[in-house]
């Protein structure tokens, strides 16, 4: 792009090529009072891209609840910060790398992990856990295998090397992601509350330091690419995908944390999307100062790079730091020890402008306030989604046993061990519950009694049927998964993946999902402290029409256990009684049973009753804290019987089930996806149900722990060995391993 654009005149046509509208370009002209230079146009176009400016989503994001007594920093910083007690803070965020992961799955996913790690350690936290929420196209699509393989290798290749355990996440398959997979990566770190680093620059004259990898021509205009739809030439955009180097990232983590133990840093930010441009503009902008950059001092990987290329490069593993002038040499020594580039590339000024110099010329001189304040902000038209039609009469053509076998072998419920086994989940020595052992991963906070409970959740098919209910459900399921381990849910990070905001029906989904999320967050005291929006997740169909992904507001939830020894998992214990917590109406709309047995994706998603969610969850958590619960598993995809099968497959025993609720069809009872429910194994079922009744919580005894499989009320037993064989077949078959 560079050599071609280097010769083009800067005009409206070029601005359009850079993703700006005619109106936006008009604003650029009025801010500048002249025709901008190529570098200036590049800076405007990335800062005003959807990816960096959130121009379509900002008005709606503001409606989300972001505060609570335990929230230290909400949205606006590199990541969210919450108080976990003992003077410590958890710092976390989730971020998408969807478009790059379709174009180049390995590097796309790898650099997604790298980017989110930097967002967390730039605030002073040592990263202690990674999770990832992945959505792939149909297993039948010939592209899917390539993308799964590359994404899994990329996540493992990066996360394993940097030495941060990958402890959880989720995977869905659906044809709506055929040409646009979703890779949402989440990192959680731990910092001392009195050593949290922010990005607002301060101190006129203070040096601006560049550390990390050298700058190359990779990733130029990546942020702009992520802000538009794919077309048939998507794969030709490979040069806009960055290449990650986890080894350098590991050195950068250690060097930054070593520097952060001193008092050298005024402000620090990673160079993520739009690289040097966004980091310098945001740091100076937030601090209300100006910034002068001398690009001749930027460490460069290749010769002859222009100012435009350096400002727009998204080369990975780079950070920008404002340091106290008398600590510059201390900082230099630390980075040299770690064999990383260190260069003073500018200083802060009182001009309120960003001034970029290269080879004796001023390549850009832009006033920062209007660049931020006059960034486009759109309240785009919305259209409501049609009400889901009622299901009508549903019959059970296969019976309970056969349905269970089909469900636990289906792509959305099959064992993920093939994937997890490629991620190092134990490095650090603090992983208490590894993937699949509990509803949320549990990571001990080293040197304390604290534990973190971590999960990612979203049910996109619910969101498509009813985005408001789906948005609420995503938050509620994350909350429930944390509760099921005995942890206290604290806050979420969100990763809002949607289609084109220029389609009113997509914008309608977006707004409704945020409303649902906000409502759930408020009722559950579970505020949003960080997040990311990924729009334009569309692919071009052969007939030229554009197909949106399922609305996917992925939620990353974090909770805390004061005593990590009290965390419980979902494995069936050796003995006990199985009790269902929460009411069952037998809701089969949008259920996996309906999809896998009838091939239908319709009906209304299960009803969300947030008051019941809160009541049931608070009760379950109290019972776990009191030590009355041996194992707990939330009831989600596939309903009660799938939950029981999952407990049995990783547990010491099976179970012997009693007859289902009278007056309800068996398939509706066993496979309905009614919300706000848990299966618990308890020693004293009577005491448990008495306590539930006095808390106003509905319970029902499901059966007894025992035997070696699931013994159905009919007397038929499905052995654990059979279930495991069916459950573990999908991934190896898909990947031909």
């Amino acid at each position: 792009m560079s050599s071609a654009t280097g010769q083009k005149p800067v005009d409206e046509a070029l601005a359009r090529e850079f993703g700006l509208t005619a109106e936006e370009y008009g604003n650029v002209l009025s801010i500048m009072g002249r025709t901008p230079s190529l570098t200036e146009l590049g800076i405007f176009s990335v800062m005003w891209s959807e990816h960096c400016s959130y121009k379509s989503s900002r008005v709606w994001l503001r409606t989300l609840p972001t505060t609570a007594p335990w929230v230290i920093h909400g949205p606006g910083e590199n990541a969210g910060v919450v108080d976990i007690g003992q003077g410590l803070a958890a710092i976390f965020k989730m971020e998408s790398h969807n478009h790059p992961s379709f174009i180049e799955p390995y590097q796309g996913a790898a650099t997604g992990v790298g980017g989110i790690l930097r967002d967390v350690f730039t605030m002073g936290a040592r990263p202690v856990a990674n999770l990832n929420a992945l959505r792939f196209g149909s297993p039948e699509n010939p592209q899917t295998r390539r993308i799964v393989d590359g994404v899994v290798r990329g996540i493992g290749g990066y996360g394993n090397c940097v030495g941060v355990p990958t402890v959880g996440g989720e995977i869905n398959f659906h044809p709506a992601y055929d040409g646009n997979p979703l890779v949402n990566a989440m990192t959680v770190g731990i910092a001392r509350q009195d050593r949290i680093f922010l990005s607002a620059a301060a101190g006129i004259g203070n040096p601006v330091v560049y550390v990390g990898s050298k700058t190359g021509r990779d990733g130029i205009h990546g942020a702009t690419m992520s802000s538009s739809e794919f077309d048939e030439d998507a794969l030709a955009k490979r040069p806009t995908v960055q290449v990650g180097d986890p080894f350098v990232e590991k050195l950068l983590i250690e060097a930054c944390l070593e520097l952060m133990a001193t008092d050298a840093i005024v402000a620090i930010q990673d160079m993520g999307a739009a690289g040097l441009t966004s980091s310098s503009v945001e740091m100076a902008g937030k601090g209300g100062v100006g910034i002068d950059l001398d690009l001749d001092a930027v460490p460069q990987r290749e010769r002859g790079m222009t100012a435009y290329e350096m400002m727009l490069s998204e080369s990975q593993e780079r950070m920008l730091i404002v340091v106290h002038p008398d600590k510059t040499e201390l900082a230099r020594a630390i980075f040299e020890k770690w064999e990383l580039d260190f260069a003073i590339i500018g200083h802060l000024t009182d001009t309120g402008h960003i001034v970029v110099r290269h080879q004796g010329r001023v390549e850009a001189d832009i006033p920062l306030d209007p660049l931020a304040d006059q960034a486009p902000l759109y309240r785009r038209p919305t259209a409501p989604s049609p009400e889901p039609a009622p299901l009508g009469q549903i019959t059970d053509p296969v019976g309970i046993e056969q349905a269970l076998i089909r469900l636990i072998g289906c792509p959305d419920l099959a064992s993920r061990a093939w994937v997890w086994n490629q991620y190092d989940s134990t490095v650090g020595g603090q992983t208490v519950k590894r993937p699949g052992a509990a509803d949320a991963a549990i990571v001990k906070v080293e040197g304390t009694s604290l534990g973190l409970a971590l999960t990612t959740d979203c049910t996109p098919r619910y969101c498509r049927a009813d985005a408001r209910q789906g948005g609420a459900q995503a938050v509620a399921e994350a909350w429930r998964n944390i509760v099921a381990t005995g942890a206290r849910p604290l806050a979420v990070t969100d990763n809002l993946n949607f289609g084109s905001p220029e389609k009113p029906e997509v914008m309608g989904q977006f707004v409704a999902a945020i409303e649902g999320m906000g409502e759930a967050c408020r009722v559950l005291d579970f505020p949003v402290v960080s997040g990311n929006v990924s729009l334009y997740n569309e692919t071009r169909a052969p007939d030229g029409s554009s197909v949106s992904i399922l609305p996917t507001p992925a939620i990353g939830g974090l909770g805390v256990l004061e005593d990590v020894n009290r965390a419980i998992g979902l494995a069936m214990p050796a003995e006990g009684t199985l009790v269902l917590v929460g009411a069952t109406r037998g809701e089969l709309g949008q259920s996996l049973w309906l999809r896998e047995i009838h091939g239908r994706e319709d009906g209304a998603p299960p009803t969300m009753d947030l008051a019941a969610e809160r009541r049931n969850g608070d009760f379950v958590r109290q019972q776990i804290e009191a030590g009355h619960v041996l194992a707990c598993h939330d009831v989600s995809d596939g309903g009660i019987l799938v939950a029981l099968a999952e407990m049995a497959m990783v547990g010491e025993a099976g179970c012997i089930l009693s007859a289902p609720q009278s007056g309800m069809r068996p398939e509706a009872f066993w496979f309905g996806e009614d919300q706000s429910r848990y299966v618990v194994a308890v020693r004293d079922a009577e005491a448990f149900t008495v306590a539930a009744t006095s808390a106003g919580v509905e319970t029902r005894t499901l059966g007894q722990v025992g035997g070696d499989g699931l013994t159905l009320p009919s007397g038929a037993t499905i052995s654990k060995a059979r279930m495991k064989a069916v459950n573990s077949a999908f991934f190896p078959a898909l990947m031909d391993d």
Binding site: N160, G163, F247, K250, L251, W420, S425, T426, G429, E446
Partner: protein, 233 residues
Amino acid sequence: MKAGIVVFPGTNRERDMAIALRVVTGREPVMIWHGETDLPDLDLVVLPGGFSYGDYLRCGAMAAHAPIMAPIRRFAEAGGHILGVCNGFQILTEAGLLPGALLRNGALRFLSQDCHLRVERDDTPFTRRWKTGDVFRAPMAHGDGNYIADDATIRELEDSGRVAFRYARPDGRIDESDAQTNPNGSIKAIAGVLSANLRICGMMPHPEDLVDPLMGGEDGKPLFEGLVEALVR
């Protein structure tokens, strides 16, 4: 027992190793930077896991030439005890302190899972807390753990009893050709080997990540307890 842990650029299991040593010895191990040219006074040198130098060139190849390796060689020649785990094992083979090499896993994928190890002899400082034939569990997490050596070397290792651990089924049976039992495809299911004087041990799985019931068990603890017993002054 005074233990030191060597940290190369890209090492990432030094903290895990420090925790295990602290749990067993009650003392803080010394961290040793790869650029050092001398070792402090130590009873045990540990080369921990990770991706030294990003695994570039070949796993462990660049670390084997780091400045710290010169004093480590002298320490070995003087009869010092060295434990290399995962990348540490790879470095020891690259440095020629242990025989053989570690290839890409048979399935060509990174493998992170628990495996079972059978103890092949119980008269070494690394294995004395077990009985020959005991089986213990340990997490493995590597892409290149497929042990290989030429026939003569394997014969020599077998004849002189220098195989410390083999991948096994929980009941102790060995099946070299079964990917469930011998996950990375190592020759003779070898998971760990010893030097001729039995004072250097390299192994791929991570006993240091299983020294606390909270993390799933204490299966790895006997290795460190044995070292303390043998090396305490």
